[in-house]
């Protein structure tokens, strides 16, 4: 079964062609980072306008790279949510109408399920069951995954998502946009041990997270440094590192707790923050001690992309699911409401 996947939930237009027999055949992406950088954050209306311009050219390119004619497609998968409603609408309306015209089924895909199962796009794919740590710009959650559509949420962020905390902290440190990767880069120059940052909620039972306190702690530290007249590059890098270490440590501790509490031996990371190398390193070291295994998608499939949508769409279409003749979007869509297949 060959499926075209369409992702337009936020600020990337992603298209991909996935074949149930041969795997991923092609994927194309247009990132709007430059567009939104001037505004210091994603402007939903501008994001939607850009999706309209890029979707079809990227679809054509993906099909061409895959060597597949649109008439050979067996289904269309589009991100229906969660995300920015106007942006979602572009992919949903185009994708649903394309499926109708080609006379093939369409499937509305959950964006976070796309992220969650993205490690399965790799040659070394994890087997069920696994613990998934999903850390992106809008989400932070730990889930026990027994199978496709069987997601039991073990813990969530009570305030900021991990990526959001990275982005906001970067802004406070007067770094550019998007903050996460820039802060991580700066942290490479940092000296460990210069500052002592808290590890929020690790001394409490449970698997929930909280990052907003850490964000404030960073701000205060930076302001104190400024007041003391020591707000040089090195100090900024030291603070960036202290923040990053605190986030990574917190995530690692909760993942370890989840593995121990469930007895599951496989850990998967997905989502934009999964691109963070310090996080990958810390989790790798931890799973080795726990006699467990770590899986993650290639860096480019950590952030939003069409491949993960085509992949999930294909799995669900193969299981016989499909959409009615209407354009489905859901800005909010709890992941544990998904149907199991």
């Amino acid at each position: 079964m060959i499926v075209l996947g369409i992702e337009t939930s936020c600020d990337e237009t992603g298209l991909a062609v996935y074949d149930s027999d041969r795997g991923l055949l092609a994927h194309t992406l247009h990132s709007q980072i430059k567009l939104h950088a001037e505004y210091g954050g994603v402007v939903p209306e501008l994001a939607s306008r850009d999706h309209v311009r890029y979707l079809l050219p990227l679809a054509e390119q993906a099909l061409q790279q895959a060597g597949v004619s649109k008439h050979e497609l067996d289904g269309i998968a589009y991100t229906a949510g969660p995300g920015l409603i106007g942006a979602l609408m572009v992919g949903a309306s185009t994708g649903r109408a394309l499926a109708m015209t080609l006379g093939i089924p369409a499937i509305a895909v959950h964006h976070m399920e796309g992220h969650l199962l993205a490690p399965m796009l790799e040659d070394a794919a994890p087997d069920f069951p696994f613990i998934a740590l999903l850390v992106s710009g809008g989400h932070t959650l730990l889930a026990e995954v027994q199978g496709i559509g069987q997601y039991q949420i073990l813990g969530e962020s009570l305030d900021d998502a991990a990526g959001e905390a990275f982005d906001k902290t970067a802004k406070m440190l007067d770094l550019g946009y998007p903050g996460g990767p820039i802060l991580a880069k700066l942290a490479e120059q940092g000296r460990s041990g210069q500052y002592k940052f808290p590890r929020p909620m690790v001394d409490r039972p449970g698997l929930d997270f909280s990052f907003s306190g850490l964000k404030t702690f960073t701000l205060n530290t930076w302001q104190d440094a400024k007041q003391a007249g020591s707000d040089d590059e090195q100090t900024r890098a030291d603070i960036a590192l202290a923040f990053e270490e605190a986030v990574v440590d917190t995530l690692m501790i909760k993942c370890r707790r989840a593995l121990r509490e469930t007895g599951i031996k496989t850990l998967v990371i997905a989502g934009g923050v999964g691109a963070n190398l310090r996080l990958r390193g810390a989790l790798q070291a931890m799973v080795e001690k726990e006699n467990s295994a770590l899986f993650y998608p290639r860096i480019e499939f950590c952030t939003d992309n069409g491949a993960m949508i085509a992949h999930v769409g294909c799995l669900r279409l193969q299981a016989g699911q499909q959409e009615d003749l209407q354009i489905n979007t859901r800005a909010r869509w709890p992941i544990d409401e998904l149907e199991k297949i």
Binding site: E38, L55, K70, M89, S93, T94, R96, L98, T101, I327
Partner: protein, 231 residues
């Protein structure tokens, strides 16, 4: 009568409609259905095609209300039309929603000069002046614009009528400024029937574009402030 098959769609305002033009005949499914567009528009299109016993592939072209209107609304029809046109390898004729209103008022009331207005929210109005040409089609005079109703200018002479939701939302100010406009049809919305009629002429004039070029005209483009300008 033009021998042509064309499907027109519009979701730019509170109205949601599809119309099928087949060799001079027009069949329309029009509904006033705020917030129902995503549920309705594909079914409306499919219903008309099924009744006529044809497929998207058998059409010569598609047409859509390319705006102005609600941003997300305009993009629903745009997305649907892009998807259909790409899937069936047929071209698209973009048609102004303001022109669609003017054309409808001409067809229903023989008005030859129409000041078309759609409520643009935030105290603004989408505005265009339309006048009848020799082929019985309403044609734009000057440019379409988004402006404050207090800034609209009275066009030269003639017997102008007003039409569209802009005259509901801003009727008072508009009538103050344009006292000589006495015939007003505020409950007119863009509709696929007149979009189809205008698109058939546009198609003959070579105004059809490829699927990927079928993009909205928003008129309002100052949708966000750059960080540098904020301070």
């Amino acid at each position: 009568m033009t021998k042509l098959k064309l499907l027109a769609l519009d979701t730019a305002t509170e109205a949601c409609s599809a119309a099928l033009y087949i060799d001079g005949e027009i069949y329309q499914d029009f509904q006033l259905a705020p917030r129902e567009h995503t549920r309705l528009i594909l079914r409306q299109a499919e219903g008309l095609l099924n009744k006529a016993g044809i497929t998207v592939q058998q059409l010569d072209a598609l047409a859509f209300g390319r705006g102005p209107g609600s941003f997300t609304g305009v993009r629903i029809a745009t997305g649907v039309v892009q998807g259909m046109a790409f899937g069936a390898d047929i071209p698209v004729v973009p048609v102004s929603t303001l022109a669609s209103i003017a054309q409808a008022v001409y067809e229903d009331h023989q008005a030859q000069h129409v000041l078309s207005a759609i409520d643009a929210r935030m105290g603004g109005v989408y505005w265009g002046q339309y006048q009848l040409n020799a082929e019985g089609l309403m044609q734009l005079v000057g440019d379409e614009a988004v402006l404050s109703p207090a800034d609209v200018a009275m066009p030269a002479s003639f017997d102008w009528c007003g039409a569209g939701s802009g005259w509901q939302a801003h009727g008072k100010i508009l009538q103050q400024r344009l006292a000589s406009v006495t015939r007003i049809y505020p409950d007119y919305y863009p509709q696929s029937k007149t979009i189809a009629r205008l698109a058939v002429a546009g198609f003959k004039n070579g105004e059809a574009v490829d699927a990927a070029q079928a993009i909205p005209v928003y008129l309002r483009n100052d949708v966000a402030q750059k960080s540098a300008d904020r301070k």
